[in-house]
Amino acid sequence: MPFTMTDQLMITARDIRKRFGTLEVLKGISLEVKKGDVIAIIGPSGSGKSTFLRCLNHLETIDGGNIEIEGETLVSTEASGACRYAPDATVQRICRKMGMVFQQFNLFPHLTVMQNLIEAPVVVKGMNRDAIIPKAEALLRKVGLLEKRDSYPSRLSGGQKQRVAIARALAMEPDILLFDEPTSALDPELTGEVLRTIRQLAEERMTMLVVTHEMAFAREVSTQTVFMDDGEIVEARPPAELFAHPEQQRTRAFLEHML
């Protein structure tokens, strides 16, 4: 793989600020994500991990800072403090480079597994049904659920639902995948199958940001582990360093609590 490719900047977030009413949830978050990076985001409940992820793909709007996706400006903040988003069409185009997997799966219950996968390619990209179905089948095979193609989501286990959700996100061919606690709604015995799927994507050099409470997973799969607390990034380092020698007292306290 050429080095120029691996160094390509996928996400540049600078000094992201976000308030809900008077509550300051993100207090200036900066993060760079390169192609092929797997960023694990860990931290206590309420520290702003989900909010940060949701700001990146415009599920939340920010109050300050800049976000660039693959070199294109999603939002920038002027010296005056005014936050300016790109025009709607541009925002939509930029955000389409990112897929997202939710804690609660959010599969479409009225559509079969196959229909869940092809809905967006057909409706958003205008792709031909016959053209997309073989690709969708390949994705289902990849997550090990081809035999469920005609099932409705309510018939699947939690782990199967989440793997369908991952396949659905991949069907739009995103460059970046965002995961918000993909295994937190699962029974413990079902987290493994989902984590295996994400690990497989990591091996294929998919660029990913994964908010997770699974410390072992963060440690083994991520290229960078980001520890967030109270709306700030306290420490962001390769997991081998962060887990073995946390520099900050807050990181140390959190890890001790988690392990």
Binding site: L59, Q92, F102, N106, L107, P109, V124, K125, S154, A169
Partner: protein
């Protein structure tokens, strides 16, 4: 007896046609209008939402009969918008305006019951708001609101008899005319059977639809 029934069946059937017309036209027009009202009611435009809210209150807060009388007798004298409608259009306008308000509340409840995660999933997949409503939200809403819509529709069958106040010869008024003329109550029985059959047909239709939607669980 049989001969007498056959004799009165002719006029009763033409009354039934009036009843059916009011029923179907109201249903076909009030459902989409109700959906639009619900969307306006739920929109972020405060003024529009407030107006829709007020409209629904007005229509549900006054008797349908009063609304019908107003549109037929009083509307012609209202300045600017005053128009004189013949009896059948006046009745239809009143029914549609009234039922749209009830349907709007049913749609609103249905739309609000859809999880926010559905909108977010659709958005991150690139669907526009319109696509999300059409392809993701409303199909799920239909499943959830079938029972209350079915209820309202059956009520409509019977409410059609209110058009007698505009002296229109629907099924019930025709039956009453014959009862008073011939001093026999059998026309009422015929009318009752007709309403029951229609309600039965609707019940079966809605049960079929509910069954079709039962292929998936929320």
């Amino acid at each position: 007896m049989m001969e007498y029934l056959l004799l009165i069946l002719g006029p009763l059937l033409s009354g039934a046609v009036v009843t059916l017309k009011v029923f179907f036209i109201t249903l076909v027009l009030a459902l989409p209008l109700g959906l639009m009202l619900a969307m306006v009611r739920l929109s972020r435009y405060r003024a529009a939402s407030g107006i829709a809210n007020g409209y629904i209150w007005l229509m549900r807060g006054t008797p349908l009969m009063l609304q019908m009388l107003f549109i037929y007798f009083a509307l012609p004298f209202v300045p600017v918008i005053g128009i004189r409608l013949p009896d059948f259009p006046a009745a239809i306008v009143a029914f549609v305006l009234n039922y749209a308000a009830y349907f709007a509340e049913i749609f609103r409840g249905g739309i609000q019951s859809i999880d926010r995660g559905q909108y977010e999933a659709a958005k991150v997949l690139g669907l526009t708001y319109g696509q999300t409503m059409r392809r993701i939200v409303l199909p799920q809403v239909v499943k959830r609101i079938l029972p209350p819509i079915s209820n309202e529709t059956i009520t409509l069958v019977k409410d059609t008899s209110l058009i007698y106040v505009l002296a229109m010869n629907d099924l019930l008024r025709t039956a009453r005319g014959i009862v008073q003329r011939d001093f026999t109550t059998s026309p009422f029985l015929v009318a009752a059977v007709f309403y029951l059959v229609m309600t039965l047909v609707l019940t079966v239709v809605f049960q079929r639809m509910e069954k079709r939607y039962a292929v998936y669980d929320d």
